[in-house]
């Protein structure tokens, strides 16, 4: 895309607001919606991956050590991962700035 999101005008829109190239949602930073963030105590993690299965954003992946971790660019801070994580690895904390 030549223009940045904020430079787009109504004249730049395609007819019916169609999107011609796939993957545009990937650019959208839904992480800005967050008011809480997940924190991890990986010493308890059994790498079951339930958090990743339940994450509605699909933004949890294994890190280089094999632990499951959310991508903060997309994580909305909904807390479902913390709720579902039965070994209690994940704790939600207030997002301060």
């Amino acid at each position: 895309m030549a223009k940045s999101e904020n430079e787009l005008t109504w004249k730049d829109l395609e007819i019916g607001c169609i999107v011609e190239a796939p993957g545009s949602a990937r650019r959208y930073e839904s992480g800005t919606w967050r008011s809480q963030r997940p924190t991890y105590d990986f010493t308890k993690c059994i790498k079951c991956g339930l958090c990743a299965l339940y994450c509605p954003e699909g933004c949890i992946e294994q890190n280089k050590d094999g632990y499951f971790e959310a991508d903060m660019y997309y994580c909305k801070g909904c807390g479902i991962c913390a709720r579902e994580c039965w070994p209690r690895v994940i704790t939600m904390v207030e997002e301060v700035e």
Binding site: L8, W10, K11, I15, C17, I18, V19, P22, Y28
Partner: protein, 391 residues
């Protein structure tokens, strides 16, 4: 030679759809619209119309199927009324911003409760702000003509918007009228093939109806507004060329003895013809009164309306719906807004009439005109008058 055929208006409208040669019809029956889609189903079943007829399970599904069909580049028709339109409402909003050229006939009927199958404009007003082009007709011939015209407007590359054709339930849908049917050849000439610019195509996939975050949503709505307002030029041209081809002329605001008249009555829909008879009688009795009829509800014809009332001192506006707790009738509310910033403007008196199928007769319209003139002179503590309510 022109032949008039005596036929029920619903059947005639369905035959007009057939003349437009649609690809897909998705609809659910509802009184007083049923005969339209019933006849179309019959035409398809008999092999007289080569179209896909989708008998869906609700109006919500009907419009949803229409979205998909129009997006695939198919010429698409549906029809509904009242509760059906209400159930469909969510999807009705989706078609205009996606620029899908669907044509829908609405057999205007009141909304429940209490239950009424009879005509008024409460269903029509419930979709006022959906962004559809909305034409309202006064008789069977206009319904036939404007159904064909609607496809041409909707599918025009400069428009690409859905069009509703409103016709009053029963008063129009269930009466037999003399109709002139255009020939298939003439319709084919008037109505070019649908060339939807970006039909759903696996070889060139696109995403339609995507999520628009706050940084772009306002722009999408403005693009929609500009598109609807720009459609007016095409509507006028479509009406103009229809007149050249078929000899019947439509205008956003149509006039009846209105030039120079000091008192005007504004009507919308089938009651306009009864009002015309009242105007004839009043003029014969020496009253300086004329009539204007709104044919185009959206985009609202501000310019034509202002021009049509430029000589009038009093404008009496007929509404067939109530905006509860509000300014009265939705039509009068628009009309007042159209004049508020004008240096010269008529006094606007609003009557709500003919709710849920109650007839307003010729003598009723005469009474309304006289009462309206009186209210314009003396004023009233009411925002609007409701005509004929039993005290």
């Amino acid at each position: 030679m022109v032949t008039r055929v005596g036929v029920e208006v619903s059947i005639a409208l369905a035959d007009a759809v057939k003349l437009a040669n649609p690809d897909v019809i998705a609809a659910y029956p509802i009184t007083p619209q049923t005969h339209i889609v019933e006849h179309l189903a019959e035409l398809v079943a008999n092999g007289e119309l080569d179209a896909e007829y989708i008998p869906v399970e609700s109006e919500h599904s009907a419009m949803s199927a229409c979205l998909g069909s129009a997006a695939a580049g198919a010429r698409t028709f549906t029809a509904t009324a009242s509760q059906g339109l209400a159930l469909m409402n969510e999807v009705v909003y989706v078609a205009p911003p996606m620029r899908l050229p669907i044509v829908m006939a609405v057999a205007n009927r009141s909304l429940s409760a209490p239950l009424s199958i009879w005509p008024d404009h409460s269903d029509m007003m419930s979709v006022r702000d959906t962004g559809w082009i909305q034409i309202i007709v006064e008789n069977g011939q206009q319904a036939v003509d404007n159904t064909i015209i609607a496809f041409r407007i909707a599918e025009d590359a400069k428009v690409l918007l859905p069009v509703m054709v409103h016709l009053d339930g029963f008063t129009l849908t269930h009466v037999i009228e003399p109709i002139i049917f255009p020939t298939q050849e003439a319709v084919d000439k008037y109505l070019p093939k649908n060339r939807f610019p970006l039909p759903l195509n696996p070889d060139r996939p696109v995403a339609m109806g995507e999520f628009a975050p706050p940084f772009i949503f306002t722009e999408t709505k403005w693009a929609q507004e500009v598109a609807l307002n720009n459609s007016k030029k095409v509507i006028l041209k479509a009406w103009d060329e229809f007149a050249k081809a078929f000899g019947r002329k439509y205008l956003p605001v149509e006039k009846y003895h209105s030039e120079g008249a000091k008192v005007l009555i504004l009507t919308m829909g089938s009651s306009g013809e009864t009002a015309s008879v009242a105007i004839d009688e009043l003029r014969k009795e020496g009253m300086d009164v004329g009539q204007i009829r709104l044919r185009l509800w959206r985009p609202f014809p501000f310019k034509e309306l202002r021009e049509a009332v430029k000589d009038a001192d009093v404008l009496i506006v007929m509404d067939r719906a109530i905006s509860f707790g509000g300014p009265g009738g939705p039509l009068a509310s628009e009309v007042k807004a159209a004049f508020y910033n004008q240096a010269k403007r008529p006094k606007v008196v609003n009557f709500v009439i003919s709710l849920g199928g109650r007839d307003t007769t010729v003598s009723g319209f005469k009474e309304i005109v006289n009462k309206g003139v009186d209210i314009a002179a003396k004023g009233s503590k009411n925002e609007y008058e409701i005509y004929g309510v039993k005290e």
